[in-house]
């Protein structure tokens, strides 16, 4: 005789639960964590390096870098003088809450105001695996094309800030900025949007000013 047993549990709950626990650990140390995501080659690391330069005289920073191979990005971040930990995911295409929870003890959170996490270059999978950060940022780039919000909705929906990098290349690409922005608005109305060039520095003042506002608001709460 069969009976129906109600379950009503979300399938990704193990990751979600650990993400919440990561968030609690970060909050206990008053560390503002940022998850940077993007396609490979969009300029995540370049944006992060320039962001670090702008922030490091005002906040104590640390970095966690995720890649399937090499320590190239963690080395670049460490070269700025801030502590950096590399996670090699062993082939997994995204960081998840488990990996981050294993990396957090390697960071001196008591003496870290802002933790920058660079996810694996991937426009799909990271959107399904929250890490427990305070701010999710997507770095899009002009050469990728203006149709990416339409083709990759979960990623564009899941972030609180969007940088459009490599705007110095707009004269060389057929990138319809209006079409791009419409796609973004449809998925994520009111998303903070920053056209930038990590190479020339264009647009960084606005991005850094906004980011500082977010960080300061967090650090000043009880």
């Amino acid at each position: 005789m069969t009976k129906k047993v109600p379950v009503v549990e979300n399938i990704l709950k193990a990751n979600d639960q650990l993400a919440q626990s990561n968030r609690q650990v970060l909050d206990a140390h008053r560390t503002f964590a940022i998850n940077f995501m993007a396609s490979p080659g969009a300029g995540k690391t370049s944006v992060i390096l320039r962001t670090i330069e702008a922030l490091k005289d005002h906040y104590r920073l640390a970095g966690i870098d995720g890649d399937i191979a090499t320590t190239i990005d963690a080395d670049r971040i460490a070269a700025t003088g801030i502590p950096a930990v590399q996670i090699n995911t062993g082939g997994t295409c995204h960081l998840d809450a488990v990996m981050v929870s294993n990396a957090l003890p390697q960071i001196d959170l008591d003496n870290t105001d802002v933790l920058i996490i660079e996810n694996v270059g991937n426009l799909i999978c990271p959107a399904n695996f929250p890490l427990g950060v305070h701010l999710n940022v997507l770095v899009a780039s002009v050469p990728e094309g203006a149709d990416k919000p339409y083709k990759y909705p979960p990623m564009y929906r899941g972030v609180q800030a969007l940088l459009l990098n490599k705007v110095d290349l707009l004269p060389y690409f057929d990138f319809d900025v209006d079409y791009f922005r419409k796609g973004v608005e449809a998925l994520n109305p009111g998303l903070a949007f920053f056209p930038v060039s990590a190479k020339t520095g264009e647009g960084f003042d606005d991005w850094i000013a906004w980011l500082k506002g977010q960080i300061d608001a967090y650090l000043s709460t009880e």
Binding site: T2, E9, I11, A14, I124, A186, P189
Partner: protein, 113 residues
Amino acid sequence: MHELPFVESILKITLEHAERAGAKRVTALYLVIGQMSSIVDDSVQFYWDILSKGTIAEGAKLHFQRIPAVYRCWDCGHTYELDGEHLACPRCGSVRVQLVQGDEFRLDSIEVE
């Protein structure tokens, strides 16, 4: 794309609830999957067949209930189901819309003996 770890999670949740209910066998699973969550039914079935072998859930039938994507327009308040790929509000044309349903991926219930 991550149907393998997802199915591991489904199996774990299933066996936990089956044990709590004192079940000898699990005969069916009822999964609810939103239109906008990128889960492929065939892949779930494929990995389920492999991972459930040797457990009391082996051979359980998977039922997939697909939930349509529903948007609400920020500007005029209209709620509507997604029609093809056209996201804009059919009443006022605004693109300032919010997904209110369609992201789900959960195990709603299981049938046990």
